[in-house]
Symmetry: C2
Subunit: 361 residues, 2 copies
């Protein structure tokens, strides 16, 4: 359980912007990164000379990768569990496949949250159209039908508003393990980005208020507009989740907030077993970012101080938003981050801006 | 004079920690870096897949490098002027060879400072022992004999305290263009790290108070313990120097401070035409670091906001200081930076720590 000394190599499965920012954070600490990704134009390939370009199913490549690194982590939860399990036989993988299996599955996620005493929307497993009819009558409509796995940014989900529409809505979900969730009239969405160290220590960044647009995160505001007691509760739930998963690394918990100010109710919505878009503000408003925090945990280092020195609003740059880079770069108090992606497809995450202001409280 | 768009490649001469931190800062902006360095174990090679391993005298390699990048900069002033001049014929080099020529030469540096109305220690060129005798009698002893070029961290200099010792002291300086400088009984050393954009815009970070140990920077403290009027003067002198050199990029000016508090006198000591050790605190106490500022200038981007959100003390980790990395990483409010150097030779810069505290004024 010793910490990996500077000069060690962290292997990262996935070469997107999260892998890229993890690699940049590791470099600050004198650690090297080896990126494993199946796409030749992976943004993370631009920031390290150590790479494997191969499919996640390529056992020979996985073996070579494991042999070239000291510890392994992943930048997104849709990496195949089989690849992670195979790698676990060769090198430490943090967080491990147990956390990945739970966080990949909306049903297991919600069952765990309930087990730990946290509230969630009503939910029921849906494997057949009969399950859907039964669940809809119990939970009531509107309700949201989601695939249990491989959904993100609103993909793989549909809102069912009337029983008559249920059959047509179900069509794309046939033969896919799914879940029906009660529709929550929430007042706000918040998240907690927290870390657990190899020694079981726990550290959370401040609670974040998130604004979505077309199911994609648009802005994160810190501090969040919720009461101190709700902040405390959000962090306590995250703490229980990380402990329950025997987790090592950074994890994000997303909540729906209902109820009035000072009497908020939190419903666990989703868990992401990785660094998270709603933690990008930490890059400029904290002395240790979520990316460095994850690397510290994975490498067995002490977790960093999560103190936030400034108030901050993070705004995603989607698609051609990033074309305004020159104007954004000229803004006082703003830090611009661009991910090195060549093609600005509609809705694609191209970068983000952190706008800082002096801390008010 | 257009700005280089994200995705462009910045070429950096030199692969030390400064080149490494420049490359990491460029990656934040979606820019790629190509490192040119003659040492295979260059720290900057660890953070980019684009590299040229070759001597600065290798014209073929320089040509290939120029062809692979969009703009060229350097991380240290001891890169041969001939290489920079050769590259200038192929691609924009920022800052250019004029600034490099002046900043490489202690005599030209001081002459420029005087021309701009800034004070310096007394000085005289020394090309022969006769020159030294004459200079010593005019300036008085003690005085410091320095090579005009290639000195850093106290290398290439000796203090002469008595006329009887002059001849022996001169021995290693024979046939090297040198300079004798009057010994300054300074109260404090401060520096200004400032930037000038491609459009002539000027931006300075807050003035830094520097503490040296064995001629090597030990700590930088911000804010510096000098009066606002002295801060203003230090920045004004830097502004004149950057304009006079038609400079593009980050430059550091080091000053000796004499006189009492509120009636300080500033003497220009040295100019470094590059990012500087006394600017490392900006990585954690400002929204835009000196490294990003340099990249912005070199790429023709708008300069960033130099606002300092926290008070900060930067401490260098020299030689085996860096062995305490685990304890340093556990310190609240501290950001640890390690440079990826394998061998911790005595006095070698292995990393630094920025210790932040809430801004007091």
């Amino acid at each position: 359980m010793a910490a990996l000394p500077p000069g060690s190599i962290v292997g990262i499965l996935g070469g997107g912007q999260l892998g890229r920012m993890l690699a940049l954070a590791a470099a600050r600490l004198g650690l090297k990164c080896h990126i494993y990704a199946p796409e030749a134009d992976s943004p993370a390939f631009q920031v390290t000379p150590f790479r494997t370009l191969a499919a996640y199913e390529d056992r020979t490549a996985l073996e070579g990768f494991a042999g070239a690194v000291d510890v392994i982590t992943y930048e997104f939860e849709n990496v195949p569990c089989e690849a992670v399990e195979f790698l676990e036989g060769l090198k430490p993988v943090r967080p491990g496949s147990t956390a990945l299996r739970v966080a990949q599955d909306r049903l297991l996620e919600k069952q765990m949250a309930r087990k730990l005493g946290a509230a969630t929307a009503q939910f029921a497993a849906v494997d057949t159209f009969g399950d859907l009819e039964k669940a809809a009558s119990e939970i009531g409509l509107p309700a949201v039908l989601k695939t249990r796995r491989f959904g993100y940014d609103g993909k793989g989900q549909i809102t069912i508003r009337a029983a008559a529409a249920a059959e047509r809505s179900y069509e794309p979900f046939r033969n896919k393990p799914s879940i029906l969730e009660g529709f929550v009239e929430f007042r706000m969405e918040v998240s907690v980005v927290a870390a657990r160290g190899l020694d079981g220590s726990f550290v959370a960044f401040d609670v974040v208020e998130n604004e979505h647009r077309n199911h994609i995160l648009n802005r994160s505001l810190v501090p969040a507009g919720i009461s101190p007691s709700a902040e405390f509760e959000a962090i306590e739930i995250a703490k229980k989740i990380l402990a329950d998963l025997d987790y090592v690394g950074v994890l994000a918990v997303e909540y729906f907030v209902t109820g009035t100010a000072g009497r908020e109710k939190l419903l666990v919505n989703e868990i992401a077993p990785r660094v998270h878009n709603s933690g990008h503000w930490t890059m400029d408003a904290c002395v240790v970012s979520q990316f460095e925090q994850h690397i510290r945990a994975v490498a067995g280092w002490p977790l960093g101080d999560p103190y936030r020195h400034s108030d901050v609003v993070m705004t995603n740059l989607l698609g051609d938003d990033a074309e305004a880079w020159a104007a954004l770069a000229a803004e006082p108090g703003a830090a611009i981050h661009l991910y090195g992606k060549a093609e600005a497809r509609r809705g694609r995450k191209m970068g983000h801006v952190n706008r800082l202001s002096p801390r008010q409280a």
